[in-house]
Structures are given as structure tokens and as C-alpha cells.
């Protein structure tokens, strides 16, 4: 075995440039796929986490006749006495936070300009609202008893040239089917780094939203955050109610889950294409080596080397190319992933309905992706070496000795 790899190593050194180019083809393939897999992984993770934190929560308690495509404020479409319901849910051991939220359709206007947005009444003191507090760029966060303050996202503030302390008119639909409007003070400007969300979402304290819209002691949903998102199905099953339905993040984000399946299928095709190209390079290199060394193959078979040993010789060369190539590829790939994990790719507002993607995608490398890619690249390179190895093994000694 040592002799086999010693000979393979020396044979590869004979044409260093060709060997290095072949190994680099494997390296670039591996590095590219590692980065792509990490970007897709990062994108999916980011999208799911972001959507859960900003929009769906891990579970939502909804009235039985809840329709997410309408923003109905009729009392029969809302949850009555939501604070009590939320407190009961909070008592469950799996739950880290449960907070009522009220949704209304609104139009923010300043002078001649107006912009429609979703108005969300939140409990500023709930841990689930912390993410908006953390994203505060200027001004102050809301307080529960604030009667005039709203939070505006950065893109909307820029559109209206609003600063903290400025005033703007907000019109909302109300529980009785009418509309109401009031001049509000922009208490603060926030960002969640998700342009599409920030541009179209205005926050105000739940109590103010309830009185402003006439919803009174009602909420649209109870937003539930769990300690472990994998507990969602179990927790949802435990939450039984005759007046409420409990919907898990997986159910609410079916689009993302199916997008993830699509992304995985897309990655498989990409693996096939990129590794197919590198395999062609490796096959080409080794076929050239077989033809160059035909007479040597003849000598070795003449002195009694068996076909399988001749084959092993070329497979060993393929294995060495794979080892060098994958090693360098992993180093290069991990470097690229580290960079894009830190700085991300700017994608801006992708405008995908139903998925809240941050403006930056941060590459995220999983050990599973790295191991899978290493194994697949190794196997593909060995398969690429199989044809030249068979070509060499099938040579008749007499023919081969003629060169």
C-alpha cells in the first residue's frame, strides 16, 4: 500500500502543472459548492428565524374564524380578553413568551404623501418585542401607556423624511367597519434589516391600538415564542381550546419549508454540474497519463503485476488528486464562508411574499454540509479515475510494451 501511494505520488509529480491544475479543479469545485451550500443554508436559516421572530412566532393562537388575508377588527374575529389568555399560555414550561398582538390596516400620510402599512399593536414590555427595541436606530422605544407614539421603520421614515419626534397622520380601519385617524408622534425609528417588513409595518402600544381601532379588550392573535422551536408541535397539541386554534411555525411557513426543499434539490443539481466538470478534468488528466505511460504499464504487467494492481495504481493517483484538491478546496471554501458569514451578501428587498428575508444573506456552514461535500467529492473523483484505471488494467502486455 505504501509503495502504491509512493509510486502514485511520484507519477503525479512527473507532470506537476497538469496535476496541480487537476487538483485545483477539484479545489475550486469544492470551494464553490461549500460556499453555495453555506449561502443556501444561511439564507434558509435566516429566512425561517427572521419570519418566526418578526411575524409568525413559534405558535400563534388564533380565533377559529381567523383569516390572515383580511385584517378584520370585528370583535367576533378577535380574541377576547387576550392578556388573560396570554398569561395562561405563558405558564406552560415550553413557552418563553406569549403576547397579544392586534393587526390593523393603516395609511400613514404627511402632506401630500401617503403610504399604506400594517399597524401592529404590541406589548412593549414583552420579551417577544425585544427584537424591535434592539433594532431602534433613533428616538425611544414605545411604552405601554404611550397614547400618541408610534414606531416607524427606517425605509418608511426615509421616504417621508421623518425623524424621531416628528408628527405624521395615521388612518386605520376600525372594529365597526369605519376608519379613524389621529396625528401621532414618531417616537422612534427602527430596523429589522428586512426592508420589505420595515417599510410596511408601524408599531404602537397594544392598549392604544385597541382604543384607536375600537377593538377594545381584544387582539388578533397571541404570539407565542418557545424555548425550543422543535417543541412547537408538542406544545400546540397541549394547548387545547374550544375558541382558539393553535398554528405552528411549520404550518404558517409552509412556503419557506417547501422553498428549503426546492433549494436542496437545486443544490443537488449544482453538485452534479460542478462535480461533473471537475470529474471530467480528472478523467482527462488520468487518461493522458495512461497513454503516456502505456509502455510502463506493459513493463509492470510483463513482470507479473495483475490487472487489479494496475487499476489500483491509477485509482491511487485519483485518490491523491482528490485528497489534495479537497483539502485545498475546504480551506478555500471555509475562508470564503467565514468572510460571508461575517459580512454577508447584500440582496436588498427581494419582495418575496410570505418570506421575510433579511437584506443580507449570511453564509452558514454546517458540519453535515462539509462532510457530505467531502465524501461526495471524494467518491466522484474516484469514479472519474475509474475509466482511466480500467483502460490501463485492460491493456494487453504485448500491446502495451509496443508503447
Amino acid at each position: 500500500m505504501t509503495q502504491l501511494f509512493k509510486m502514485a505520488f511520484r507519477d503525479l509529480r512527473r507532470n506537476k502543472r497538469r496535476t496541480i491544475l487537476s487538483a485545483l479543479a477539484v479545489s475550486f469545485g469544492v470551494a464553490l459548492l461549500l460556499l453555495m451550500a453555506s449561502v443556501v443554508e444561511g439564507e434558509m436559516r435566516g429566512a425561517i428565524e427572521n419570519t418566526i421572530q418578526l411575524q409568525s412566532g413559534h405558535i400563534q393562537a388564533r380565533p377559529l374564524n381567523y383569516d390572515e388575508n383580511k385584517t378584520s377588527l370585528k370583535w367576533e374575529d378577535l380574541i377576547a380578553d387576550p392578556q388573560t389568555v396570554a398569561e395562561k399560555i405563558s405558564a406552560m414550561p415550553q413557552v418563553s413568551a406569549a403576547t397579544p398582538r392586534l393587526f390593523a390596516s393603516g395609511i400613514l400620510s404627511l402632506g401630500k404623501d401617503s403610504h399604506s402599512a400594517r399597524v401592529i399593536g404590541i406589548d412593549p414590555n414583552s420579551p417577544a418585542s425585544q427584537i424591535f427595541k434592539n433594532g431602534l436606530l433613533s428616538g425611544d422605544f414605545l411604552t405601554a401607556d404611550d397614547r400618541e407614539g408610534i414606531l416607524v421603520g427606517k425605509p418608511l421614515a426615509e421616504k417621508f423624511n421623518l425623524r424621531a419626534g416628528d408628527k405624521a397622520n395615521l388612518l386605520v380601519n376600525t372594529a365597526d367597519g369605519g376608519v379613524d385617524e389621529q396625528l401621532f408622534t414618531v417616537r422612534g425609528i427602527y430596523t429589522t434589516n428586512t426592508s420589505g417588513y420595515d417599510e410596511n409595518t408601524i408599531f404602537m402600544p397594544l392598549a392604544k391600538a385597541q382604543t384607536f381601532t375600537g377593538a377594545e379588550n381584544h387582539a388578533s392573535i397571541i404570539f407565542i415564542a418557545l424555548k425550543d422551536r422543535e417543541q412547537a408541535e408538542a406544545a400546540s397539541a397541549a394547548l387545547q381550546s374550544t375558541t382558539l386554534q393553535f398554528v405552528t411555525w411549520r404550518k404558517m411557513n409552509e412556503l419557506i419549508v417547501s422553498t428549503e426543499d426546492f433549494a436542496n434539490a437545486y443544490m443537488s443539481v449544482l453538485y452534479l454540474i460542478v462535480l461533473g466538470i471537475t470529474a471530467t478534468v480528472v478523467t482527462n488528466t488520468l487518461v493522458m497519463a495512461v497513454f503516456e505511460r502505456t509502455r510502463e504499464i506493459g513493463i509492470l504487467t510483463a513482470i507479473g503485476m495483475k490487472s487489479r494492481s494496475v487499476m489500483a495504481q491509477f485509482l491511487a493517483e485519483g485518490a491523491l488528486i482528490a485528497t489534495f484538491g479537497i483539502f485545498i478546496g475546504l480551506a478555500l471554501g471555509v475562508g470564503l464562508v467565514a468572510y460571508f458569514n461575517q459580512y454577508g451578501f447584500f440582496i436588498g428587498n427581494m419582495g418575496v411574499t410570505g418570506i421575510l428575508m433579511e437584506d443580507y444573506i449570511y453564509a452558514y456552514l454546517t458540519l453535515e454540509d462539509a462532510v457530505n461535500l467531502t465524501v461526495i467529492a471524494y467518491v466522484v473523483t474516484l469514479i472519474a479515475a475509474l475509466y482511466p484505471a480500467l483502460l490501463a488494467a485492460r491493456m494487453e502486455p504485448v500491446e502495451a510494451l509496443r508503447g
Binding site: R10, A302, G304, S307, L401
Partner: protein, 226 residues
């Protein structure tokens, strides 16, 4: 003792529609310890006959016996096994593996035969010493002269302690001095160790070393003198 025997051997090569009869019913028996030359003009069938004896090729008809056993219809791997254990080869071109040192080239057949490390070391040193190349053991072929390379090939052929050694025009690519040196070594080893040599040549100086001269013409043995 008969180390190899060829009976009624023919070898026909087909290239497209063209048939070439390289051997036309050859019978030859080689006894242990012989130093035999196969001579004849180019195209007379010397190399083809050596390839049949060496199990590198198979006859179209007829039989090949090695150490009394019929080896005519052995499969590829069985022929490789027999070659590995019993037959040494020296070729016209300096048939060494360029990436291996002289020592490693000589060691290769022993590795293929599964000889243990200590035994390999002893045998390689012994045969390199016997061809006068002990001090060139760790040189690569491109660091050796043509004559030295052919002596390494002789050492490699002898390292397995073969039943017989086949040499195809072993001096064809050497100058007179180096050719003589290689033939002197082969002859001395034949006398000292009793190993059988069968070599093809058309060089009259080389023929002079032979105890038996088998002459081929147009694929037929026309003369066999001892």
C-alpha cells in the same frame, strides 16, 4: 530438466483484412541452464516466439509448457502469476520505471511476489552487486547510462530467482563496450547460478556467447545448433 517447451505453435496477427503469419508451427524445447540465442532477420518471428514462451502472448494454435505444465490457455491473471514467479524479462529498450530508483525497480517484482522486507533487501543488494551497480542503487534511471540501465534490468529479471530469463535484443540499444559488458554479466550469471537464458538477437558478437543457436526464418525454425 525442460523449463519450457513450445509445440506446433502458430501465431497469426490480423490487422483488418490482412493476416500476418508470424510463426508457422514452431517446436522448441529449452533445458535448464541453457544459454540460447534465437537468431534471424527482422520479421523472422524471434520476438513473437519469446512473447509466447514468456506468456506475454498466446499462440493461435499449438501449446506452451512451463516447467512441464501446459500454460497455453491460462487466463490473464494466471499467466501474470506464472510470469511473476518464474520468468525474468529483459527488453530491447531500457525497460525501467522512470520514477523509481534502481533499487526500487529491482525490488518491484519482489514486492509483487510478496517477499518480506528483509529478504527483499538482501536479494536486491545481492543482484545489484552481481551486476556491479551496488553504488548506483539510489539513482533514478535518468541518472544512469544506457548500459547501467540495462544492467539494472538484468538485476530485476534475476531478483525473483527465475526458472528462465527472456531477453529481447538486450544489446540493440547499447554501444559495443556496454553491450559486451551486459552479455558478460548474463553469461557469468548463467554459469554461476545456472539460470537459463533465452535471448533474441541478430548481433553476431552476441550470438558468439550462445551455447545453442536457434535460427528462425519466416516464422519457422530452420536451424538449431548446439
Amino acid at each position: 530438466m525442460e523449463v519450457t517447451k513450445i509445440t506446433d505453435a502458430t501465431r497469426v496477427f490480423k490487422i483488418g483484412q490482412l493476416e500476418t503469419r508470424a510463426l508457422r508451427g514452431v517446436n522448441l524445447s529449452v533445458q535448464s541452464g541453457e544459454f540460447t540465442a534465437l537468431v534471424g532477420p527482422s520479421g523472422s518471428g524471434k520476438t513473437t516466439l519469446l512473447q509466447l514462451i514468456g506468456l506475454l502472448d498466446q499462440p493461435t494454435s499449438g501449446s506452451v509448457f512451463i516447467n512441464g505444465k501446459n500454460a497455453t490457455r491460462l487466463n490473464r491473471n494466471q499467466r501474470a502469476d506464472l510470469r511473476r514467479g518464474s520468468i525474468g524479462f529483459i527488453f530491447q529498450f531500457f525497460a525501467l520505471i522512470p520514477t523509481l530508483t534502481a533499487y526500487e525497480n529491482v525490488e518491484m517484482p519482489l514486492l509483487l511476489n510478496g517477499v518480506n522486507a528483509a529478504e527483499r533487501k538482501a536479494r536486491v543488494s545481492e543482484v545489484l552487486e552481481s551486476v556491479g551497480l551496488a553504488d548506483r542503487a539510489h539513482h533514478r534511471p535518468d541518472q544512469l547510462s544506457g548500459g547501467q540501465q540495462q544492467r539494472v534490468a538484468v538485476a530485476r529479471a534475476l531478483s525473483i530467482r527465475p526458472t528462465f530469463v527472456l531477453a529481447d535484443e538486450p544489446t540493440a540499444n547499447l554501444d559495443t563496450e556496454n553491450g559486451k559488458q551486459v552479455m558478460d554479466i548474463m553469461k557469468r550469471l548463467n554459469q554461476e547460478t545456472g539460470v537459463t537464458f533465452v535471448f533474441a538477437t541478430h548481433d553476431p558478437r552476441v550470438i558468439g556467447y550462445a551455447e545453442r543457436v536457434v535460427t528462425l526464418e519466416d516464422g519457422v525454425i530452420v536451424k538449431d545448433t548446439k
